[in-house]
Assembly symmetry: C2
Homo-oligomer: 138 residues x 2
């Protein structure tokens, strides 16, 4: 996809085959996958793909802020290529993560907390996670 190519280039990331494949997978499968899921899904399409490359690529993407690492599981990190403001709801039964967007207030709530931070503290990133049970599992 030309579109993804541009996003990577704009982030100063060379758009290799593997990187484009991983980025496209994240954009087109909003399932907040972990490394293993990405690897096993793409492996048939790119037989030489290695886990190492998936790890390297995700780290590179996160450093350049075109994806976010979702720290919601106990053991592994999951990834999300949607960088617009939203929170994550994890169903503890089916383990799916749902994106929740705030309809009323488009301003990140973290702004409410800026005044409460000690002076001199600089925010790079923030994330809200919710755990519970989804309607299908209840």
């Amino acid at each position: 996809m030309k579109e993804y190519n541009k996003i990577l280039k704009d982030a100063n990331i060379r758009p290799s085959i593997q990187r484009l494949a991983i980025f496209a997978f994240l954009k087109e499968n909003k399932i907040h996958p972990d490394v293993e899921t990405i690897f096993t899904q793409l492996s048939p399409l790119y037989p030489t793909l290695s886990r190492t490359t998936v790890y390297n690529t995700l780290q590179l993407f996160e450093e350049n802020k075109i994806i976010q690492a979702v720290k919601i599981d106990d053991d592994k990190i999951r990834y999300d290529a949607d960088t617009s403001y939203h929170i994550h709801f994890k169903c503890c039964k089916c383990n799916r993560i749902f994106d929740v967007y705030n309809k009323e207030n488009t301003e990140p709530f973290i702004n409410n907390f800026k005044n409460d931070l000690p002076s001199g503290f600089v925010i790079n990133n923030f994330q809200t996670n919710v755990w519970g049970v989804c309607s299908e599992c209840h």
Copy 2:
């Protein structure tokens, strides 16, 4: 401490020596420690203490909601015995976690999101984490 004894009993947790020691450590050292920190700090005082017991105990405490697991590091889980509403700020240079309380609004902001959840979704727990640089490290 009698006080901690009561908290454990109220949560239906038998207050063994090890459990009391771990709970007291968390209450009196608000450093959001990981398992290894708890273990190495308490080990000299309780020479037979094992990592397994630390893991078991923390899991038990979390299930009974007298502590929370803080998912803010990439690799390990940290723990906090303060269950009042606040958010966590992690300094990416010194790796310390700072508690931030909201002075203006004591109501958990998650309430703003309740209307945005699909119907039938039930919240058990939530957490907001912020990453950045603290004033000392800047």
